[in-house]
């Protein structure tokens, strides 16, 4: 079980980081700190990796917009985490949400939190908040206003991510219930997927959805992203042990085994169905396997990780086949990959977890109560995140357009929203000189020609 919430000391006790270090340096382990420094960097890399994974899956005219939806979370969610999010998630607070005792990182210094500096723990957690917000974007690509998206992930991080992280890791009610979530099956993946469902329902399908084929414009990007995600996920799961010990080693190995099994089963399903093994399918399988092992990584035996990975391929595989036949335009299948992968992983954690491997005994080892706890945690996160995410979007729509107009969708959001193209050879680009720019930025529109009358 994660001990994050137990590690927090009274905030404000140690005012000066230097003093803090002196007072508690005995408790800080060099080895653990080294591993957590690396793990934090690995998890941070997952957000650019996700940008490539998502960016490859959309059309060329929207690739920058899609990638920016991930990249911008590094700024928005990263800053807000330090200012407020961390305190709301890990402050003492109540069973439902933390408090503002550590707002603006007050009292978060170099003192020990477990065996690593408290500040490093905050940063490690921050990388989770960032990627969780970015995950949602896959559901609403190619049709959302960027400004509204910025507001959405800002509010979502504070109103949804922080409380849910508090429930499970900050000593909240799901922790009291005994729900196991090693690295964020519910907090990260089910949470992001529920928000994705809400966002799809709110925004509606893309203009061309179900009418025109919208194909991935760069499949090598998708494979690159999946590969980098796997690499980063060793920090995500291995680092969630918060120390460089046995638990990290188990989580690390399980993070290698489970996606391998998912990939294999996915391949066999592809072979059995069409006789062709697809690259986009393989990349998807890796992500599904990684998602599924996330809640279980440090709690189950390696053989169980293989089994869990294999099983998790099934719901996601068939959901991804079925979903495009509906009007539910979860464009990059956030729910099928992260929702179903996360739910399968969280529930199977309640089946395969073993005390002898660091968890609490699950259903398979005579403790059906653990399965129930897992089920409650999944349902609670789905419900809370889904409802609050929808309300955030509804509220935003009162102040600003949330969806792009059809014309912008046709031209492509890269040019319309970002004023850039991903793949331009520069032909026909005329340099705008200072005096040609009306108001300094936007030039006057070209004169309208007189249409020829026939």
């Amino acid at each position: 079980m994660r001990l994050r919430f137990a590690l927090l000391l009274a905030p404000g006790l140690l005012t000066f980081p230097a003093q803090a270090q002196d007072a508690t340096s005995a408790a800080i382990s060099g080895g653990d700190t080294a591993w957590m420094l690396i793990a934090t960097a690995l998890v941070l890399l997952m957000t650019p990796a996700l940008a490539f994974f998502y960016g490859g899956l959309v059309r060329a005219k929207n690739v920058l917009n899609t990638m920016m939806m991930s990249f911008i979370a590094l700024g928005v969610s990263g800053v807000l985490w330090a200012l407020l999010g961390y305190s709301l998630a890990f402050g003492e607070g109540s069973a439902w949400v933390g408090d503002l005792s550590m707002a603006l990182l007050r009292g978060v210094g170099l003192e020990a939190s477990g065996s690593i500096p408290h500040l490093l723990f905050m940063a490690f957690q921050g990388t989770f908040a960032i990627i969780t917000a970015a995950l949602i974007s896959g559901a609403i690509v190619e049709r959302m206003q960027f400004k509204a998206y910025l507001w959405f992930i800002a509010l979502w991080g504070l109103l949804v991510y922080a409380p849910v992280a508090h429930w499970v890791w900050g000593g909240g009610w799901l922790a009291d219930l005994g729900a196991l979530d090693f690295a964020g099956g519910a907090v990260v993946h089910v949470n992001a997927a529920a928000a994705a469902i809400a966002a799809v329902l709110f925004l509606g399908p893309r203009k061309d959805y179900g009418r025109q084929a919208m194909l991935p414009h760069n499949v090598p990007f998708v494979l690159l992203g999946a590969g980098l995600l796997w690499f980063g996920w060793f920090g995500f799961n291995g680092g969630s042990a918060l120390a460089a010990g046995e638990s990290a080693a188990l989580a690390f190995v399980n993070t290698m085994l489970a996606p391998a099994a998912t990939l294999l089963v996915w391949t066999l399903l592809d072979l059995g169905r069409e006789g062709k093994v697809t690259a986009v399918g393989a990349a998807t399988a890796i992500v599904v396997g990684l998602v599924a092992i996330t809640p279980a990584a440090g709690f189950i035996a390696p053989w169980a990780a293989l089994l869990l990975g294999a099983i998790s391929a099934l719901p996601s595989y068939f959901a991804i086949l079925w979903r495009p036949r509906t009007r539910f335009d979860d464009s990059l299948d956030v729910f099928a990959a992260h929702g179903l992968g996360g739910i399968t992983g969280a529930l199977l954690t309640g089946v395969f977890a073993q005390t002898s491997w660091g968890g609490t005994d699950g259903l398979l080892f005579g403790n059906p109560g653990q399965f129930v706890a897992q089920l409650v945690s999944v349902l609670a996160v789905l419900l809370y995140s889904g409802v609050v995410s929808y309300l955030i979007l509804k509220a935003l729509s009162l102040f600003m357009p949330v969806r792009t107009i059809a014309r912008a969708e046709a031209v492509g959001l890269d040019v319309v929203l970002h004023g850039e193209e991903a793949y331009t050879d520069g032909e026909g680009a005329i340099l705008l000189l200072e005096h040609e720019r009306a108001n300094g930025t936007v030039p006057a529109p070209a004169p309208q020609p007189h249409p020829a009358t026939s």
């Binding site: 005219k61 061309d208 025109q212 084929a213 014309r407 046709a410 031209v411 492509g412 040019v415 004023g419 850039e420 193209e421 331009t424 520069g426 032909e427 026909g428 680009a429 005329i430 340099l431 705008l432 720019r437 930025t441 936007v442 030039p443 529109p445 070209a446 309208q448 020609p449």
Partner: protein
């Protein structure tokens, strides 16, 4: 015999192809081109460099048809490629002196009459 050359918005190509196939026009060639059709220029900025994109991506279709196919082909394109805004493109109908089908050596009308592939 005419050569119908249409220049349309790239995002409309799918609709145009669908309309053409519904009108039973099956033989065509598509080229990606750039052009200027009087539409408002897009402004792009890359660091300190701000540019006006004078040329817009377009798609050009070349379709060789026999005379009685000219009207259905033109109508199909007109209806499927239109958004109503400046930049929807043009259709040129050009007289053709001679057409050969390379595979068979057929000429003129016979060369642009679709063959049903049986296999």
């Amino acid at each position: 015999m005419k050569l119908i050359r249409a220049i349309v918005r790239p995002e409309k190509l799918g609709d145009v192809l669908k309309a053409l196939f519904q009108a039973e026009v099956h033989g065509l060639t598509v080229t990606h081109v750039k052009g200027h059709g009087g539409e408002t220029d897009l402004v792009e900025t890359y660091r300190g460099t701000t540019v006006k994109m004078e040329l817009h991506d377009k798609v050009m279709l070349d379709i060789g048809v026999s005379d009685h196919f000219v009207e259905p082909t033109v109508q199909a394109i007109l209806q499927s490629a239109r958004t109503g805004e400046v930049g929807d493109g043009k259709i040129f109908v050009i007289p053709v002196e001679k057409i050969y089908r390379i595979r068979t050596g057929e000429e003129d009308e016979a060369a642009v009459t679709p063959v049903t592939v049986t296999s």
